[in-house]
Symmetry: C2
Subunit: 224 residues, 2 copies
């Protein structure tokens, strides 16, 4: 990784005074992250299968339980990892960086707009932390308690994700796509790590759309 400007980010003439080099390796960051995610998925899967389905007439389907796992992962990502970026404007210059600061130092190699706190990025994070995060956790509760607003809530959070992804990628394209240190980082982080937040919300949104249309088809609610 080149360090012309005293930092590993692209473009190398970016001015980031006081930059403290990353101490953890990509592997030391990714392994705990994936490990924690798998743990969260396991807990939600077991709780939803055993505790929530015991003595209930309407059992949660496997699809519902898998989707609850997704809402836990994405909600916690918003409320812990993305919140850390939002509330730690000095994450590049901290003398004793936390694990989360190191995550963002690593990710910034794929998109240096994070390093310079481009307001396009910060605006997306504000919406993620204050709206989508809490709404994702509410979605777990809504599915678990079979709320009638469950699908429309999930649909709206998915729309928020898709919207954020569109703004993220369209602005990156319009701004010239020169924020990434290498094709490897481009494909693994900028495209790869973000792709679940495009693919899975799209799938859940399509499912919600279908179930909602189906519900109208069968109920013919009288509006007004």
């Amino acid at each position: 990784m080149a360090a012309l400007g005293g930092h590993p980010y692209s473009p190398s003439d970016l001015e980031l005074p006081g930059f403290v080099p990353q101490q953890l390796s990509p592997l030391q960051l990714v392994v705990p992250l994936i490990g924690t995610s798998l743990l969260v998925i396991a807990v939600i899967w077991l709780v939803s299968g055993h505790v929530l389905n015991t003595g209930r007439s309407a059992r949660l389907s496997k699809a519902d339980r898998l989707i609850m796992c997704w809402w836990a992962i994405t909600g916690l990502t918003n409320l812990i990892i993305e919140a850390s970026f939002l509330f730690t404007p000095n994450y590049l210059t901290k003398e004793s960086p936390s694990f989360l600061d190191e995550i963002w130092k690593e990710y910034s190699k794929a998109d240096s707009r994070y390093a310079i706190r481009d307001t396009r990025i910060v605006a997306i994070k504000v919406i993620a932390v204050f709206l989508r995060g809490p709404a994702s956790l509410l979605a777990i509760y809504a599915i678990a308690s079979r709320k009638s607003y469950s699908y429309i809530l999930q649909f709206s959070v998915c729309m928020g994700h898709i919207c954020a992804m569109l703004v993220y990628y369209i602005t990156a394209y319009l701004d010239g796509m020169n924020f990434c240190v290498s094709p490897f980082y481009f494909w693994t982080y900028f495209v790869g790590a973000n792709s679940p937040w495009f693919v899975i919300p799209t799938l859940i949104a399509i499912r919600s759309w279908k179930l909602i249309s189906q519900s109208f088809h069968s109920s013919k609610v009288n509006q007004d």
Copy 2:
């Protein structure tokens, strides 16, 4: 209006070479715009009340008809006015500016990020022109033909509007809010002219949310 940089926009040190001064007055722009909008509303209201409700068992409610007027206004705004901004990058320097170019010259006084084609703005317009515009017109058809996807479609376009407004205002705030020539333009254009696209989508989204929840409550669709 100060013209230090050869243009009326704020900040005045903005470089806009080749700027051709606006020829139409605000009144000459706003009156035709409001007139056309009222005409569109009248046409949709009459057609939805007479043609579409004739010989049908399920009549369109007044709320549905009003909302159809909204979708026509917002869809045509996306597909004509906003498309004009998107596809006319040289609107400030055209020797013979069109009416729509003049509209954007006028609006840029309230937000000079339009004048410099800030990618935050262009990204929002890409989504407006290619996704929300067509979807808004589809919503008119969906309401008129009582499609079962009508409410979820309307809800998703409203979410898109609210999302775009959030990105628009949050980035403006984070970028320092110094794009507007005067408090008058701030309140009439930046806040006032945009406010319907925040208030009305919020109201339609709430209505759709309620009707969808109500539909699930009464139909108890079996998912999967």
